[in-house]
């Protein structure tokens, strides 16, 4: 079965006001693949995540992003989500007064509606999410709380992956998911992500440190430097980076103009 790549980024240039941040990103993600983008602060990692997620803070000045054959940049954030794009945020926002169960069921039902599936009622929804809660080691009362309110840092990150488990996206983008997590929390998150892997979906991890990649093993690692992908390789590249640092790696690579 020939398939579109899930994501094809071509020559993406973007910035904010006068400042150029992404200077020609090219990336193809195919079904079943796990990619990691690593880079130092200021390389453009967060900008890339934000653009893929539909934040309108940045200007795309050239290039395109094709998701499953469609122009992603033309889609509103909710459209992207309904089409199966999921961004696990680095700093999930707290939303007082909006009940977690109510919110997540509404989100799931939007997707089901979009796919022509029947919506789930409260009981059906709770049955579905119970075991996913266990997978992420989340406390039972979490769903009674408002979205992210009173959640510890680790709980917020696990909650992102829990939402992912419920929504079952085609493309999961994890934005520095390991930042602020201890080893145990990271293991739980990784276990969750790994369990969600299917031959027809894909994961893109955006990360600063290598350690998450010990748990969620990438097929492809890309180094982002000064707005471009300076080098790509397999999982060994991450280890090399860990050992030698970004500076060394860049000095030894020709950065394409």
């Amino acid at each position: 079965m020939t398939q579109h790549p899930i994501l094809a980024i071509q020559n993406l240039h973007a910035g904010v006001e006068e400042k150029k941040i992404l200077k020609g990103i090219n990336l193809v993600i195919r079904p079943g693949e796990v990619h990691a983008i690593m880079g130092p602060n200021g390389s453009g990692k967060s900008t890339l995540a934000a653009i893929l997620a539909g934040r309108d803070a940045y200007d795309v000045t050239a290039g395109e992003v094709i998701y499953q054959g469609k122009d992603l940049l033309e889609m509103d954030p909710e459209e992207r989500a309904r089409e199966g794009v999921f961004l696990a945020f680095q700093y999930p926002v707290e939303i007082p007064g909006v009940n977690s169960t109510y919110f997540l069921r509404a989100a799931l039902n939007e997707q089901r509606k979009h796919r022509g599936q029947p919506e789930l009622d409260a009981m059906e929804f709770l049955t579905l999410v119970k075991e996913k809660m266990k997978l992420l080691h989340l406390p039972d009362d979490l769903l009674k709380r408002a979205v992210n309110v009173g959640f510890s840092g680790g709980e917020k990150k696990r909650n992102e992956i829990f939402q992912m488990a419920v929504l079952e996206p085609r493309l999961a983008i994890l934005d520095e998911t390991d930042s602020g997590l201890d080893i145990d929390a990271m293991r739980i998150v990784a276990e969750g992500v790994n369990k969600l892997k299917r031959p027809d979906n894909a994961t893109l991890m955006i990360t600063h440190y290598q350690r998450l990649l010990n748990y969620i093993v990438p097929d492809f690692v890309h180094v982002l430097w000064d707005g471009r992908i300076a080098k790509s390789g397999g999982k060994e590249l991450a280890l090399e980076l860990e050992e030698k640092g970004y500076d060394w790696l860049i000095k030894h690579e020709k950065v394409s103009a």
């Binding site: 997620a53 909710e78 945020f89 926002v93 939007e110 408002a146």
Partner: protein, 447 residues
């Protein structure tokens, strides 16, 4: 210098009370009334030059010669029309007043244990004069409140609730004030007196509604005396017509270790002002003053709070959220007084205003007067739009923009409603506000 032609009609109307046999009310009441009209004549209606009325223009009230509704109008309301008003299904004692007059045929007065009473104040002034004399007029402050003084002069009726020491009224007690007059200028001065003795418990719901759209004037005073260790929840729901003027004073005296929650829900009236004065007159009190106001078109909703920490070790927490669209205005003035010696005071005040249109506005003013040195007093106010980060997060999960906005607006009202302790009351308020928000311009349509 109050304008005589604004106060004169009132002075003339008062003369009616002075006629012999004009009322069956006890003689001890008369000095209170006379003092009330004298104070009103002295103060006159407030103008925008008065600091406490800076944002709220009551000159429309002052200009119209409002006429107190002296005589009980024939009920004209069938019992089943009550079903349209909120809390109709709640069991318990319920006093219904039409245009300020008690209508027994529309009310429920079940037998209460231990000598507790729920009765028309006018009737109780005859049957329980001595008890009422101990309390009526003792908690309301009129030195700087012309409207409360006017109520002292002119009140005819309202609710009297009495719960003796150690007792409780299990079901919420309702006081329902219905305005049916369609002619401009009809004025009522409802007066409620709630006396809860030590260790007693009650839930009181005060509602003000209209069946016609007319510029009526409701000038209400509710006094609460809460004995030591009593537990009381109070909800005032105001949904008068969009033409109406509604001024109310809620003045309460709380004894030691009282637990008091009072919720103010405002959805109606062209101009409303709630003057809520809470005196913490004992140690160990916990008072929650909670409210939400929902305004659109050219409505104005004003809450003026005074919390008086007269004794140490008390906690007062105020939470008021406003949801404003159209050209409407919200006003909040939160005064906290911490007297010398009121150590270990914990006073908190939060007023948040959500502006759903470009022309809506909010004025919010905290005023902290702190004379003790070992206290915790915080205040916060916000005026703004919905949080963009929150909207974005919801959209990133597939929830559409309009639905996301709606969810956040409902959540904003929900923060307040969630503090209502009585389950059935809270659920009904939740549903009521939900419906109102859906109708409210600005929620569905956005800016």
């Amino acid at each position: 210098m109050p304008s005589a032609n604004q106060t004169d009609p009132y002075l003339k109307a008062f003369a009616r009370f002075e006629q012999p046999g004009a009322s069956k009310q006890p003689s001890w009441l008369f000095p209170l009334r006379k003092a009330g009209i004298a104070r009103f004549a002295e103060l006159g209606f407030p103008t925008l030059k008065h600091e406490d009325w800076r944002f709220t223009n009551v000159s429309p009230i002052a200009k119209m010669p409002f006429k107190p509704v002296f005589d009980a109008t024939p009920a004209g309301l069938a019992r089943d029309t009550l079903a349209q008003f909120p809390f109709a299904k709640l069991p318990g004692a319920k006093l219904v007043f039409v245009n300020g007059h008690f209508i027994p045929g529309l009310s429920n007065t079940p037998a209460l244990k231990d000598g507790a009473k729920v009765a028309s104040l006018a009737a109780a002034l005859v049957t329980d004069s001595a008890l009422i004399e101990k309390h009526l007029g003792r908690y309301v402050r009129t030195e700087d409140n012309a409207f409360a003084a006017l109520n002292n002069a002119f009140f005819a009726d309202g609710g009297f609730v009495f719960v003796p020491a150690g007792s409780a009224i299990a079901e919420p007690v309702q006081l329902l004030f219905i305005n049916t007059r369609a002619d401009a200028g009809a004025a009522i001065h409802p007066r409620n007196l709630i006396v809860i003795e030590s260790g007693a418990k009650a839930t009181i719901i005060e509602s003000y509604v209209s069946t016609a759209s007319a510029p009526t004037f409701t000038n209400a005073v509710t006094e609460f005396s809460l004995g030591d260790n009593s537990i009381v929840e109070h909800c005032k729901f105001q949904d008068e017509s969009a033409e109406a003027y509604h001024i109310a004073a809620l003045h309460s005296r709380l004894g030691r270790t009282v637990n008091f929650s009072s919720h103010s829900i405002v959805t109606g009236a062209k101009l409303s002002r709630n003057n809520i004065r809470t005196t913490l007159d004992g140690e160990g009190i916990e008072a929650i003053l909670n409210g939400v106001y929902l305004t659109s078109d050219d409505q104005l909703a004003d809450h003026y709070m005074i919390v008086d920490h007269a004794k140490p070790h008390c906690a007062s927490h105020e939470y008021f959220n406003g949801i404003l669209s159209g050209k409407s205005r919200g006003v909040f003035h939160g005064r906290i007084l911490v007297r010398p010696g009121a150590q270990k005071t914990d006073a908190k005040q939060t007023n948040k205003n959500l502006l759903l249109s470009d022309d809506a506005s909010a004025d919010t003013k905290p005023q902290l007067e702190i004379y003790a040195d070992d206290v915790k007093c915080t205040h916060g106010a916000t005026v703004g739009q919905l949080n963009d980060e929150s909207i974005y997060y919801l959209r990133s999960r597939g929830i559409g923009l309009e639905t996301a906005r709606r969810m956040l607006i409902h959540a904003f009202a929900g923060e307040i409603i969630d503090r209502v302790k009585h389950d059935a009351l809270r659920e009904e308020l939740d549903a009521l506000l939900w419906d109102r928000l859906e109708q409210h311009d600005g929620v569905a349509v956005g800016r």
